[in-house]
C-alpha cells in the first residue's frame, strides 16, 4: 500500500471489513456506496414515485411532489457523476479507510426509517402534525449522509471533486432534469385527471379497437374508462396494460446490450434498432390484448385466459430482445470486428493471433461463447421453453407438464455423444447430500405441522389432480416423478454447476475442472439456482432453501470433481420429495 508501484495496490484492491471485502480504492468505494444507497432507497420508499399532484399518506409533500420522489435526484446525479467521472476517478489509487462507527450510526438511522415504513404499510397512523413524515425524511437524509462519510472519508470526497472539476455541478443539474423528466413521463400512462395523462392508454385503446373492429362487429369501446370488448368479455386497459412495461424492459435491455457489446457494434447504425424494437414491443402488446379479448369472447376458460395473460407479455419481451440481439450480431452493417475494434487480443483464447496479419476472421470466430455451451444449457432451456408453452395454455393446473420431460429428454438424447464424455460416476457423498437437502427442504413443512411455524399456503394441485380420470392422473404423476428424478437433475446440474459456476471463472468454461470451482462461483451460481426455485418475487423461503441446496450439490460436485455426484444428490433429493408429496399429500412441495 505504501509502495509507489502498482503491484501492491493490485493485491490490496479489496479491504476486509467485518469479514466483508470492500473495494479499497475511491472508485470502487463510490460504486459500492451507490449500490447501497439505491437499495436502501428502494426499500425505504419503494422507489416508484407517484403521479404529480397525488400524495401518499405519511410522506412530506413540497410543491405537489412527495418527498420520496426527490430521492431520485441525488441517485440520478450520483450515477451521472460516476459514469462520466469514471476514468478520472480511477486514477485515484490511494487506499481509503472505512468509518465503522459512522456506518453503525447509519444502520441505526435506517432502522428507524424502515420501522416507519413498515408501520405505514401496516396501516398504523402516527401523523400528529405530520411529525412522522418529517422524522422519517430527516432520519433518511442523516443516515444517508453518514453512509456516504463512512464509505468515503471527507478528504477523499474533496479529492474526488478536485479530480472531476465541475462535474458535480453538471451531474446535479442532470439529476434534477432526469427527475423532472421522469415525473412528466409518468403522465403518459397514468389515468389521472390531467389533460395530457393516459396518452399510452388512449393510443393502445384506439389501436386495439382498430384491429378488433375487423373481427368483432359488436365491439364496445369506452374511452372514458379505457374499457374495450363485447357484451361477453371486456377488459380495462389500465396503465400497466398499455405496453409501457414492455417498452421499459426493452429499453433497459437495449441499453445494457449496446453498452456491453459496444466494441462489436457499429454506431450510430445500431441506434436505428431502438425505435424498431420499441415499436415491435408496443405492437406485440396490441396483439396480446386483441388475442385476449378474442379468446375471452370465444368462450375461452378463465384458466386459459389467466395463463395467456401472465405469459404473453414475457414471451413478447423475450422475442423482441432476442430479435434485437440477433440483428446486432447478424447484420454486418451494424456489426464490427470485436477484437480489431478493441485492439486488444490478450484475453482471447489463443491470444497473440491478433498480431498476425490476416487473422481477423479467426478473432471474430474466437469472440463468442464456447461451443460446449449448447450441450450444457439447451436441456435446461428446453425445460424452460416447455414450461412457458404449457403455462401459456394451461392456466392454473399445468396439465402439459409431460412436455417438459419429453423436451429435455430429446435434447439430452441429441447431445448425449458430447455429454457422455463427462464423468457421471458417483460415490456415497452424492446420495448423502441428496438426503440432507431433502430433510432441509421439508423442514419448514415439518415445523409447520408441529405448530412451530406458519402453515404454507394451500396448494390446489391435489384438487386439480383429483378431478382427473385415474389414467390421466397417474400418467401425469408418472411424468412428474420421472422429470423430477431423471431429466431435471441432469439438466439443472449441467446448467448451474456444469455451465454457470465454471463460466463465472472463465469464458472457456469447459476447460475448467470441477475441482477448481471458487467460493464466488459456487455461491453466485447457488443463489441463481435458489432464485429459480422461488414461486414469486417475495418467496424468500424457497430462495434460501434453493441456495442451500445449490451449495450442497456444488459441494458434491467439487468433492471428487464428478458431475455424477451432483446429479445423484439432486435426483435423490427430488425422489425423496416426490415420495413425501405422494405419501403425505403435501402438494405445496410441488
Amino acid at each position: 500500500m505504501n509502495q509507489p508501484n502498482g503491484a501492491s495496490t493490485e493485491v490490496e484492491s479489496f479491504r476486509s471489513i467485518l469479514g466483508v471485502r470492500l473495494p479499497a480504492h475511491l472508485l470502487g468505494r463510490l460504486y459500492f456506496l451507490f449500490i447501497l444507497v439505491a437499495i436502501e432507497y428502494l426499500f425505504c420508499f419503494g422507489g416508484r414515485g407517484t403521479i404529480p399532484g397525488q400524495s401518499i399518506p405519511g410522506h412530506l409533500t413540497f410543491y405537489g411532489e412527495n418527498t420520496d420522489t426527490y430521492g431520485q435526484i441525488p441517485i440520478f446525479a450520483f450515477l451521472v457523476f460516476l459514469g462520466f467521472g469514471h476514468f478520472r476517478l480511477k486514477v485515484l489509487q490511494e487506499n481509503i479507510s472505512f468509518g465503522r462507527i459512522l456506518f453503525a450510526c447509519h444502520l441505526l438511522c435506517m432502522a428507524v426509517v424502515l420501522a416507519f415504513t413498515v408501520a405505514a404499510r401496516m396501516g398504523l397512523t402516527w401523523q400528529l402534525f405530520d411529525t412522522y413524515s418529517y422524522t422519517k425524511s430527516a432520519f433518511y437524509v442523516v443516515g444517508t449522509a453518514l453512509l456516504a462519510l463512512a464509505c468515503v472519508p471527507l478528504e477523499s470526497w474533496r479529492a474526488a471533486i478536485r479530480a472531476t472539476g465541475r462535474l458535480w455541478l453538471y451531474a446535479s443539474l442532470a439529476g434534477v432534469a432526469g427527475w423532472w423528466f421522469g415525473s412528466q413521463v409518468r403522465l403518459l400512462w397514468g389515468a389521472t385527471m390531467t389533460a395530457q395523462s393516459g396518452i399510452m392508454q388512449r393510443a393502445t385503446l384506439r389501436a386495439v379497437g382498430a384491429v378488433l373492429g375487423h373481427f368483432l362487429p359488436d365491439l364496445v369501446v369506452d374511452p372514458a374508462t379505457f374499457t374495450i370488448g363485447t357484451s361477453r368479455y371486456a377488459v380495462v386497459i389500465a396503465g400497466g396494460c398499455s405496453g409501457v412495461e414492455g417498452l421499459g424492459l426493452v429499453l433497459i435491455f437495449i441499453s445494457l446490450w449496446l453498452w456491453v457489446y459496444r466494441k462489436e457494434t457499429r454506431f450510430p447504425q445500431a441506434f436505428l434498432l431502438i425505435p424498431c424494437a420499441l415499436g415491435c414491443s408496443w405492437l406485440l402488446n396490441i396483439l396480446r390484448l386483441c388475442a385476449l379479448i378474442l379468446i375471452g369472447n370465444a368462450g375461452g376458460s378463465i384458466a386459459f385466459q389467466t395463463g395467456f395473460h401472465i405469459q404473453a407479455g414475457w414471451i413478447a419481451f423475450t422475442v423482441v430482445a432476442l430479435a434485437f440481439s440477433l440483428a446486432t450480431q447478424k447484420i454486418s452493417w451494424m456489426r464490427k470486428m470485436p477484437a480489431l475494434a478493441s485492439g486488444n487480443t490478450g484475453n482471447l483464447p489463443g491470444g497473440g493471433m491478433g498480431n498476425i496479419p490476416g487473422s481477423s476472421m479467426h478473432l471474430l470466430v474466437q469472440s463468442g461463447e464456447s461451443p460446449a455451451t449448447r450441450a450444457y444449457l439447451l436441456p435446461f432451456l428446453a425445460i424452460l421453453i416447455a414450461a412457458t408453452v404449457s403455462k401459456l395454455v394451461s392456466g392454473y393446473f399445468d396439465w402439459l407438464y409431460p412436455l417438459r420431460f419429453i423436451a429435455s429428454a430429446i435434447v439430452l438424447w441429441y447431445f448425449w455423444p458430447e455429454l457422455k464424455k463427462i464423468n457421471w460416476r458417483f460415490g456415497w457423498f452424492g446420495p448423502a447430500a441428496g438426503v440432507a437437502v431433502f430433510l432441509l427442504w421439508i423442514a419448514p413443512a415439518w415445523f409447520a405441522s408441529l405448530g412451530w411455524a406458519h402453515q404454507p399456503a394451500a396448494s390446489r394441485l391435489g384438487a386439480d389432480l383429483a378431478s382427473l380420470s385415474p389414467l390421466a392422473r397417474w400418467t401425469w404423476i408418472a411424468f412428474r416423478v420421472a422429470a423430477a428424478v431423471i431429466t431435471v437433475p441432469i439438466a439443472e446440474e449441467l446448467a448451474f454447476r456444469g455451465y454457470l459456476a465454471r463460466r463465472l471463472i472463465n469464458r472457456e468454461f469447459d476447460q475448467v475442472s470441477f475441482t477448481r470451482l471458487t467460493a464466488f462461483s459456487i455461491v453466485l451460481s447457488s443463489v441463481v439456482f435458489g432464485m429459480e426455485h422461488m414461486k414469486n418475487l417475495m418467496d424468500w423461503q424457497h430462495l434460501a432453501l434453493g441456495t442451500l441446496a445449490g451449495l450442497a450439490f456444488a459441494a458434491a460436485l467439487r468433492w471428487r470433481g464428478r458431475m455424477g455426484d451432483a446429479v445423484v444428490a439432486h435426483a435423490v433429493s427430488n425422489l425423496l420429495l416426490a415420495a413425501w408429496v405422494l405419501g403425505f399429500g403435501d402438494w405445496a412441495q410441488w
Binding site: 419503494g46 462520466f84 421522469g182 400497466g240 423475450t318 474466437q366 461463447e369 455451451t373 412457458t388 418475487l537
Partner: protein, 74 residues
C-alpha cells in the same frame, strides 16, 4: 482567444447535454420499471408483465442469448 472561449463553451454545452441525456434515459427506464414492477400493492390486476414470472423469463432470455453467442467452429 475568443475562438478558444467558444470552443470551451461548446465543450461545456456538449458535456452538459450528454449528462442530461443520460439522466433522461435513466429516468425513463427507472420510472417505467418501477411503475410496472414495484413491490407492494399493485393497482392493476392484469399487468402486461407479471413480476412473478420474471426470474424464469429472464433466465430463459439469458440462456438463449448465451447459446446464440456461441462462436462458430471454422
Amino acid at each position: 482567444m475568443p475562438q478558444i472561449t467558444t470552443r470551451k463553451e461548446l465543450h461545456v454545452t456538449k458535456s452538459f447535454l450528454r449528462y442530461v441525456l443520460m439522466a433522461l434515459g435513466l429516468a425513463f427506464c427507472t420510472c417505467t420499471v418501477a411503475y410496472g414492477m414495484a413491490f407492494g400493492p399493485h393497482p392493476h390486476p392484469s399487468p402486461e408483465i407479471d413480476p412473478g414470472m420474471a426470474i424464469s423469463a429472464l433466465t430463459l432470455l439469458a440462456g438463449s442469448l448465451a447459446v446464440l453467442r456461441i462462436r462458430r467452429n471454422k
